[in-house]
């Protein structure tokens, strides 16, 4: 927004994303601040997930998906970066928990293993599980299948799996949409602890969640960034009528 770029870890500049020629995200410019939580909200189909997934190049797997504009990460434009390297630094948690059909331990160790981590794996796994507030529940059954965990536990395991890579940024694509309110509350608590060390971008269509957890909020509609600012301003004193209608629940 402003010219001051201090603390900006990702600078999204004039990004357009299209699927087979059809624009899904239009000229979005947005800063992502380091060690803060940025929420992207908006009605279904507004392009918020598309925008999020472009930040670690997950749209590469969708045939016909094209991106223009720049996303500056450190000193690289991640649009041209090596996606494999990039994803090691920018982790992701998906809408539905997607643990591998392997043991809890191997799920968390998976990322470090393929990236040639040579330190103490048990320690790394324990640390990640503790950061994800799952350690106490699973420490006695690390060799059990991850598929035996509850949905909420599986999602925290997926967060632990991403944390084990020690990424700089964690992207979360509606991480609580498949969870019950208790599990959701646990994950929201977790987000507060994680932002001490990590930058988080979270897509959600739960406005209360965005209001509760984030410092900054971006409101997208039909692929257009309608409003971006401090979460408090966006929710209590929106500059745009559409934003006000959306956050007060008049549509969406």
């Amino acid at each position: 927004m402003q010219d001051d770029k201090t603390g900006v870890i990702l600078d999204i500049d004039d990004v357009c994303i299209s699927y087979s020629g059809e624009l899904a995200v239009r000229n979005v410019s947005l800063p992502i601040y380091e060690k803060k939580i940025t929420a992207i909200i908006g009605p279904s189909g507004c392009g918020k997930s598309t925008l999020l997934r472009s930040l670690n190049r997950m749209n590469d797997f969708i045939p016909g998906c094209e991106l223009t504009g720049t996303v500056t990460f450190g000193d690289v434009n991640l649009v041209n970066a090596d996606p494999v390297d990039l994803r090691r630094r920018i982790g992701m948690v998906f809408q539905r928990p997607n643990p591998f059909p392997k043991s809890i331990h191997r799920n968390v160790a998976w990322g470090p293993t393929i990236n040639g981590f040579s330190g103490d794996m048990d320690e790394r796994v324990e640390k990640a599980l503790q950061q994800a507030a799952l350690w106490d529940e699973v420490k006695d059954r690390l060799q059990d299948s991850a598929l035996n965990l509850s949905g909420g536990q599986q999602q925290r395991l997926c967060i632990a799996r991403a944390l084990a890579m020690e990424p700089e940024i964690i992207l979360m694509d509606e991480p609580c949409s498949a969870l019950d309110p208790v599990s959701t509350a646990r994950i929201e608590d977790l987000l507060f602890e994680l932002k001490e060390n990590y930058t988080i971008v979270i897509v959600t269509h739960n406005m209360q969640q965005a209001a509760r957890v984030s410092e900054y909020t971006a409101f997208l509609e039909n692929g257009v960034l309608v409003e971006y600012g401090d979460t408090e301003d966006v929710f209590t004193n929106p500059r745009n009528q559409r934003t006000e209608d959306y956050v007060t629940g008049r549509f969406g």
Binding site: N56, F61, V84, L86, G91, F94, N98, R161, M165
Partner: protein, 296 residues
């Protein structure tokens, strides 16, 4: 009045459809009964231990001997050889189709695979005899004109489309979310394939293997043409052998009178063949079921 007329014809159709469905069931049962009766008659004259563990199979020559092992070893040579060809290439093809090929390429390649599966097996047998065997002979001149190796190679090629197609199904049944999870951790395509997709699809791949082996065991035409008609207890694939299926062809084409012991060997061999493939198919089915449950 009209309504009862409709119900009457409904009932008639139901019976008609039931009869059609019953045909295959009744046929299967009839085949099993005939196999069992004739095999029982055979085993009354030849002790089951001689039949299963005897090392000489000469039911058409004097002195007659009814040891199944040469036919079993012949069949196994074909199965092992065909597996060595079909399984690695089949899995690799499936990996390409499901993990690397674009939708367009896939849409072109899948029908080609199915065409390959539709080539009459006699063509494969002919191909083995006139094309594969001469090539093997260039490298290994001691190879017999009829030999297990060339038949095994073409049987491998024959079951390859099935292996590739079933493995492709197994890999595509692995949810895309697992791949995304792996990619999001900075994995390369190769790592995603070998460390997530293949392990997750393993039971389906295993089931494909079992079905392929089952088909290789039952395969008849190519081995009759190319592998020979010499019941031969050997592990050397360059020698002429005879498989269980090829034996059945040989006797069926001859003028063996019904009711004789030689005639009954047909049913005894067929019963063994049936039991082996039945067990394999049941195994494959139960493996498939288990892998379908994993993601539900």
């Amino acid at each position: 009045m009209k309504q009862s007329h409709i119900r009457y014809s409904e009932k008639l159709l139901e019976i008609l459809f039931f009869l059609c469905a019953a045909i295959s069931v009744v046929t299967t049962i009839a085949v099993i009964v005939v196999l069992a009766v004739e095999t029982y008659g055979f085993l009354k004259q030849v002790p089951v231990t001689e039949f299963l563990f005897g090392t000489l199979w000469t039911p058409l020559l004097e002195p007659k001997s009814y040891g199944l092992l040469p036919l079993l070893s012949g069949t196994m040579l074909i199965v092992v050889g065909a597996s060595l060809v079909a399984l690695p290439i089949g899995v690799a093809s499936a990996v390409y189709l499901s993990e690397y090929a674009s939708d367009k390429t896939r849409r072109m390649l899948k029908p080609v695979l199915e065409v390959l599966a539709g080539i009459p097996t006699v063509v494969y047998g002919f191909f083995a005899l006139t094309f594969v065997t001469p090539i093997i002979k260039i490298f290994l001149p001691e190879t017999h004109v009829f030999n297990a190796a060339s038949a095994a190679i073409v049987v491998g090629i024959m079951v390859l489309p099935m292996v590739a197609s079933l493995c492709d199904d197994a890999l595509r049944a692995v949810p895309a979310s697992l791949r995304e999870g792996a990619y999001s951790l900075g994995a390369t395509s190769f790592e995603v394939t070998t460390r997530v997709v293949l392990p997750a699809g393993l039971s389906g791949i295993f089931a494909a293997f079992v079905l392929a082996i089952s088909r290789a065991i039952g395969e008849t035409m190519a081995v009759t043409l190319a592998a020979g008609a010499t019941p031969n207890l050997t592990l050397n694939p360059l020698e002429s052998i005879q498989t269980m299926t090829a034996y059945i062809v040989q006797v069926s084409l001859g003028d063996t009178p019904a009711g004789t012991l030689t005639y009954q060997t047909l049913f005894a061999v067929a019963a063994v063949l049936f039991l082996i493939t039945l067990v394999l198919n049941i195994a494959a089915n139960s493996i498939m079921k288990r892998f379908q449950e994993v993601y539900e």
